[in-house]
Each structure stands twice: as structure tokens, then as C-alpha cells.
Symmetry: C2
């Protein structure tokens, strides 16, 4: 396939037929990111030698606020521990476990981690109170996310599949105990990594037009509505194609924005995170 | 340069001579991420046509929690507005502005954005109270970071330079007003994008050994100390090479972990974010 054909095809899968933005520049890295899909069906195959070290090298190469490295990653491969984590973080609201955690050989738990900074501060005779600020919480969570996204791009470039596991926060307190996290750290999210099952291939999930998220010079509070309306068609077609029941995008937003029922325990995250030493300020 | 030579050279720049991890797998995408450096000196050249649309397409291709797209990006190119933002978010603690914001043609402000979800919930007759949870705050901040990191990888693949601007939070309230952000949104960080000045090239900044951040099966609370000790040599050499004064890595951690003086206003982030509708729960 020519580069132009590849660009055209991937942009139409990403934005819907006839809805791709104009003038997008192209190379293998950009094609790789446009090709992204969350993979929910894996082969049991182990990862090739050196894969974990490669993902961590990519992750460490991402920017980290003030070069402080306030994140960690726990690589879980033990099937028993994975099963325990999958069962604990199970989503009851939709009667769904996280079968990918058991299927795939690797679960990466991305940790927002101020514990090393806290140790360094207190061992120097400081209180470390600054680490209880919302800003430091956000810095650690952002560090973890930037690192994880580089690991994701690296994994996909190696032909592997990934899926983020927000449900890792469903039982934040229990998970922290299970993997022995120190105070001033918590698992922000998980990331499953494995070999995609070619018999159950994942699809590229379409996105709304750029106008939903992109603002020029100043924030435009109205432009998203037309983009959201236009998106409903792509959203419906995608759900039909992958065999999901009828639901509009707005309904999917409402499902998670209008009651704690769908939170599966994540409504307790604030309490857990505070108990772990964050956000006292 | 052969692939093996490139791998060897980039890994030694990233981890220090003789300290690279073994067995790292290699391709152009991974090389691109390993080559990352924060660029703080730019030419005034405008970005080629289609660059912004390309970065946003890459950003939208990142995973977004539950497909809710709870992030936005404000692309600032107006020199006057950039100058105003640079002056407002100036770091007084180190007597340093953010000259890159003025030098480079593009400043991307990455917004953790629950405002659309809130509008959809309240227009359907719901209170939207769920959006005041810490979990939803974290989801939006993570969405923004994953999107931004894809944009960074895309920019670098096009030969552009970037640098994250955490100082965008120094005056979070003022910046939100300046760019007209709606309630339930805030700028989590900025990202400068431009053409690197070849006369003032950036260096790859070394990272500590993988043992600082990587844990296997369960968190090991002690392994980071040896990695941190080993890192001091690379840290010192890097600072000498780029003409920075003497400081150990532990001292740099202490500088930001032992007093609000270095926070330049970011100690008010919690108050601002709460006033903007987050974290009431």
C-alpha cells in the first residue's frame, strides 16, 4: 500500500469516512500512533526477551517533571498474582471481570510515586509537607501517564497489543497492599501487554472531529456540540460492527457522569489516596 | 550508522556509559523515543502546514478513559497572547521566565476537561456530582497527559522540538481566565513546539538505571537507593557538560520537596481547581 493510501485509510478509520482532517503529515511513527487500538483478546504467548526492558527504556525517555522521576511501574507476570488482581478489581457494575489481565502475559501497574522524594526530604530533616499539595499529586500522576504512553507506543511498534485498565483503581487500597506499595504512592492505572489474538482482532475506534478537543488561541465553549452530534453516526457504526448493543455517545457519557453506581469503588479513591499520605494540604 | 551502533549510542546517552540495560529491542519508533530531549532554544520559524492537525490526530489516537475524551488542547500562536502567558507564569523562585514560550511559534495548553461531560449530565437533568470525585479529576488529567505524549512523539518524529511547561500551573486561576476556560476544566501543563535552534542544540538527559522505577511482581522499597547513588555521576557529568552549576540529584529533589518557596504559586492549585468545580466530594 502506498503511503498516501495508508494515510487516507488510517485517517478514515480514525475519524470516519469523509471526516478526516486535511493536511495531516505522515511518517512511520505517526502511522503507528494512528493505527492504535485497545486490544482485549490475547494469545497466551510469552513476550520476547528484552520486551519489558524496552518498554521501560521508552517510558524513562519521556519527560519527567523537573527530572524527579516521580513514578514507578510494577511488572506483574505471575499468573496467580494477576488472577488475584483481576478478581479484586472486577467491575461489578457491568458484571465484567478484566479477562485480559489473565489472558495476557504482562500487567504493568503504573504508580504515581512520591515515596522516594519523601524519603529524601525526611532523611534530610525536612517534613516533606510540600508533597501533600495537589500540584505534587498531579505531577506524579502526569509523570506516570507520560511514561506509560511511551511504553504503549513502543509495545505497539513491536507488534504487541495493549489496553489501559482504569479498573486498577476500583480497589485502590487493596491493590496497594497486595503489591506492597509504600506511603505516598498509588496505582494510577494498569496496562495489559501481550500478543493480540489474530482470531479476535481489535478495531480502530473512531474519534470525534478535531473541533471537539482543539481550540485556537482561546477556548471556544460551543464548538464541541456540532462535533459531538456528528460523532454519533461513527459511534453507532462502530458499536454495530463490533457487536455491541445500541447506545449513543452522549448516553455513554451520562452512564459514567450521573451516579456513583458505575464507579465500582473508584468513589473511594479520594479517601484511599489521602490515607496514603497525599492531599492533606 | 548501523542499527546496532545507533542502539548502543542512544542507550549510553540515556543511561550513561556502561550502564545501558541489556537486550533492548529496536526499531525506528523506539529509537525516536530514546532520542528525546527537552528543547529550550528555538528558531522563530513557523511550523509547516498541517503540523497542528497532525499533532492533534496523534493525540486523539491515544487511549481515552471510557472513550469520553475528557481533555482539550488550546493552541496558542498569537505572539501577544504567548507573551502574556509567559509573563504571567514566570518562575520567580529561580528568576526565570519561560523564554521558549516566546521563541517558539506554538504553545499547546493541555486541559483536563470535564466541562463537556458536565454539560451533557446537567442538560439530561442529572447533578453531575460524580464529576467532583478525585477519580474523575485523575481520569481527565491522565487523558490529557496520554494525548500530549502522543503529540510530543509525533512532533519529534517530524524533526520538531518540544518542552513541557509545568509552570503553566503557576497562576492557574489567571491562565484559565486569560484563555476563557469553562468551569470543570483547568490547564494541567503546557507544551512548547518549534524548530530547534541548531546553534544551541539540546542534549539527551541521562536517566537513572531501570531499577529506580521498575519493580517485578511486587514493589521493592529498597532497590531505588543504589540506582539513585549510581545516578549521581551521570547527573553531575550532564550538568557540567551543559554548563549548569554543581548540584546533586538528591539536592534537586530536596529543592522541590522541602518548601513551598520553589512552587511559584503552584501551592494554590488545589484552591483554584476546587473553585473551578473539581474535588468537592
Amino acid at each position: 500500500m502506498s503511503t498516501d493510501d495508508e494515510r487516507h485509510e488510517l485517517l478514515e478509520q480514525r475519524y470516519g469516512k469523509g471526516k478526516a482532517p486535511e493536511g495531516v503529515r505522515w511518517n512511520d511513527q505517526i502511522a503507528g500512533m494512528l493505527r492504535h487500538r485497545s486490544v482485549r483478546a490475547y494469545l497466551p504467548d510469552p513476550l520476547p526477551e528484552g520486551t519489558l526492558e524496552t518498554l521501560v527504556a521508552a517510558a524513562q525517555s519521556a519527560s519527567t517533571s523537573s527530572n524527579l522521576h516521580q513514578w514507578s511501574v510494577v511488572a506483574v507476570t505471575d499468573p496467580e498474582l494477576k488472577a488475584e488482581i483481576a478478581a479484586t478489581t472486577r467491575m461489578h457494575s457491568v458484571d465484567r471481570g478484566n479477562p485480559q489481565i489473565n489472558e495476557a502475559p504482562l500487567l504493568l501497574l503504573w504508580v504515581a510515586d512520591l515515596s522516594r522524594s519523601h524519603a529524601i526530604a525526611t532523611e534530610a530533616g525536612d517534613s516533606g509537607d510540600v508533597l501533600e499539595q495537589l500540584d505534587t499529586f498531579l505531577v506524579a500522576a502526569t509523570d506516570a501517564a507520560l511514561a506509560a504512553q511511551n511504553a504503549t507506543v513502543a509495545a505497539e511498534s513491536l507488534g504487541l497489543g495493549t489496553v489501559y485498565i482504569g479498573a486498577a483503581r476500583n480497589k485502590a487500597r487493596e491493590l496497594a497492599e497486595m503489591i506492597g506499595l509504600p506511603p505516598l504512592s498509588f496505582v494510577s492505572f494498569g496496562l495489559v501487554v501481550g500478543v493480540p489474538d489474530p482470531e479476535r482482532p481489535a478495531r480502530i475506534r473512531p474519534r470525534p472531529a478535531q473541533e471537539l478537543v482543539l481550540h485556537r488561541e482561546r477556548y471556544d465553549t460551543s464548538a464541541w456540540r456540532e462535533a459531538a452530534d456528528d460523532y454519533e453516526e461513527e459511534f453507532r457504526t462502530f458499536r454495530e460492527d463490533v457487536g455491541l448493543g445500541h447506545k449513543t455517545w452522549r448516553e455513554s457519557v451520562l452512564m459514567v457522569s450521573s451516579g456513583v453506581e458505575a464507579m465500582d469503588g473508584r468513589q473511594n479513591l479520594g479517601e484511599t489516596v489521602r490515607a496514603r499520605g497525599f492531599l492533606a494540604g
